[in-house]
């Protein structure tokens, strides 16, 4: 009909942009622009009331040379936490996925739902339950059990000692580490072509360990990478647990004080948005480095 006459003009506009447009509008506003603003503000002093004033690299210099809380606690604690929870939770997720793959469909489904459920809980709200379990008096479940089993003679102040707080954080992190990545790896293991295993056994493969390292993992590298990325995002998104557990900001001896906590402290408690932005840029760079490592390990080599 009229399309015939309009064709030369319409040819210039591709309807594909109507499909991708709305998503990219939101994506640019709430992802790309946010990162750009973060990067810009990190070179300024900004108290949310006055217009940001340019200070150059001052925020970064202060962060790395004068901010003892950052260099002594936030940065090393975050890296330590990420190195334990990232690979630890990831390896456990893979191992659990592999174990589940050896079971029948019904059992597997039930166990998978149970293992996945901690990642559905609300982190901040869960601190109430952790407080009950790790309470410092004899009424706390852990203290009570240890006392009645004779391992300790008096209640331990789990939530006031910095090393215990960090330990509890690790426990909670591992407890909730079986998330979307775990499901991806489980379905990856289930979808490995069975003929590959048979062929490998005919060729002289001997053990189930060889099976994992020579067949399973190489056949599901894409899922392994997806799982690794999800594990990283989950790890670095954690914040506020130590404060919620100990009931004070910052927690005793800055135990479990993560970069995100430090950033929120400057951004939303002291309103030093420029400085907080510099911290967020450092955080994004740290995440980027970890992601590079994951991509190197599991990504398909090009070229």
């Amino acid at each position: 009909m009229t399309a015939e006459t309009l064709k030369p003009k319409q040819k210039r506009f591709n309807t594909a942009y109507l499909f991708v447009g709305p998503y990219y509008a939101v994506f640019f506003t709430f992802v790309v622009v946010l990162i750009a603003i973060s990067a810009f503000l990190s070179f300024t002093y900004y108290d949310t009331i006055n217009f940001p004033s340019w200070v150059g690299l001052e925020n970064y210099v202060t962060l790395f040379t004068q901010d003892a809380d950052f260099m002594q606690y936030a940065l090393p604690t975050t890296i330590k936490y990420a190195l334990i929870i990232g690979p630890g939770g990831y390896a456990l997720s893979f191992f659990m996925a592999w174990v589940l793959a050896q079971l029948t469909h019904r059992v597997r489904t039930i166990v998978a739902i149970i293992l996945y459920s901690p990642s559905l809980t609300n982190g901040i709200l869960m601190s109430v339950i952790w407080k009950v379990v790790f309470s410092g008096d004899a009424r706390g479940y852990l203290n009570y059990w240890l006392l009645s089993l004779g391992f300790i003679n008096e209640p331990v102040q789990w939530l006031q000692d910095s090393s215990f707080i960090f330990g509890i954080m690790i426990f909670v992190g591992i407890w909730s580490s079986m998330s979307v990545g775990f499901l991806a790896m489980l379905s990856g293991i289930l979808n490995v072509n069975k003929e590959l295993y048979e062929a490998a056994y005919v060729d002289g493969m001997k053990s189930r360990w060889q099976e994992i390292f020579y067949i399973t993992i190489p056949s599901m590298k894409p899922q392994m990478l997806f799982g690794a990325v999800m594990a990283l995002v989950g790890t670095f998104n954690a914040s506020g647990l130590a404060s919620a557990l100990s009931g004070s900001v910052p927690p005793p001896q800055y135990a479990g004080w993560l970069i995100v906590d430090h950033m929120n402290d400057y951004g939303f408690a002291r309103f030093e948005m420029g400085y907080a932005s510099a911290i967020s840029v450092v955080l994004l760079l740290v995440v980027l480095v970890f992601n590079r490592v994951a991509t190197r390990l599991f990504g398909e080599r090009r070229g």
């Binding site: 992802v31 459920s117 398909e300």
Partner: protein, 316 residues
Amino acid sequence: MDNRQKRPLTKTEKTIRRFKRMRKNRKARFLGTMINPSRFHVSQLKFLLILVPMLTVTLLPLIFIVSHAFKPLDELYAYPPRIFASRLTLDNFTNLFTIASQTGVPFSRYFFNSLVSSALVIFLSILIGSLAAYSFSFLKYKGKETMFMINQIAIMIVPVAVAVPRFIVLSALGITDTMWAHVFPLLAMPVGVFLVKQFMDQVPRELYEASVIDGANNFQIYRSVVMPLVKPALATVAILAFQAAWNNSGTSELYVTNEALKTLPYYFSTLTMGTSAIAAQGMSAAANLLMFAPNILLFIILQNSVMNTMAYSGIK
């Protein structure tokens, strides 16, 4: 050992050895096909044994939530502590609802806000996400590869890192004190777009071409051909979007000042942060249960779709 080993093997001995090796291999081959078994076998017991401590540790805190939520006040601080209550009560839930009314904003208001914002996030993120995924999977246009690659990188970005500038953008758009403040920051879900696109890649291209020949335009193909076929992926994105929206307390905490526009998780977190009174403990457990239940129910209902989607979740 002794030097009998060094004697060259006779032909018969060689044949026997080869036969033994074959038998061993056949046994090994049986071991190898144990992934995704169709029925129970004694050899699976060792895996169940590994799972017992794992499941205990995973389940205990969840059991605490449920048992604490229904425990009467006097039993919450009883000594010795008991896992299960001897008497069940709904007091914690009624306290939760009535205390909210005392702050001026009724519980139902927080609940309504949470419900509406979560529903909007699910609906809109699926709509714009699936449109974008459709374009990535089926359409040809300039900049497609770059856009998809940027989306891929964005999966790795940690949302908390941009909390500060989000405040600035929300106020620049003038939506800090509206329902949209809860919705907009969650609409761009790079993981969701990625999962739906991967799933759409499995739709046979012949189907798309046949629909084009039949005269359907892209919006018609998207609506009536592709969308019904990718329902599992849409269900997965719905779950992820719901989790993000339903558990999100940051927006209420940082960007929304009007108490009547805040959501449930924020209200619940004020209970846990403020007091350490015994009553708060029971109420918090009840709150935990109310937050957790919809998440887990939705996952149980849709878990088949989720597993189906995850089969195509690999990043290359």
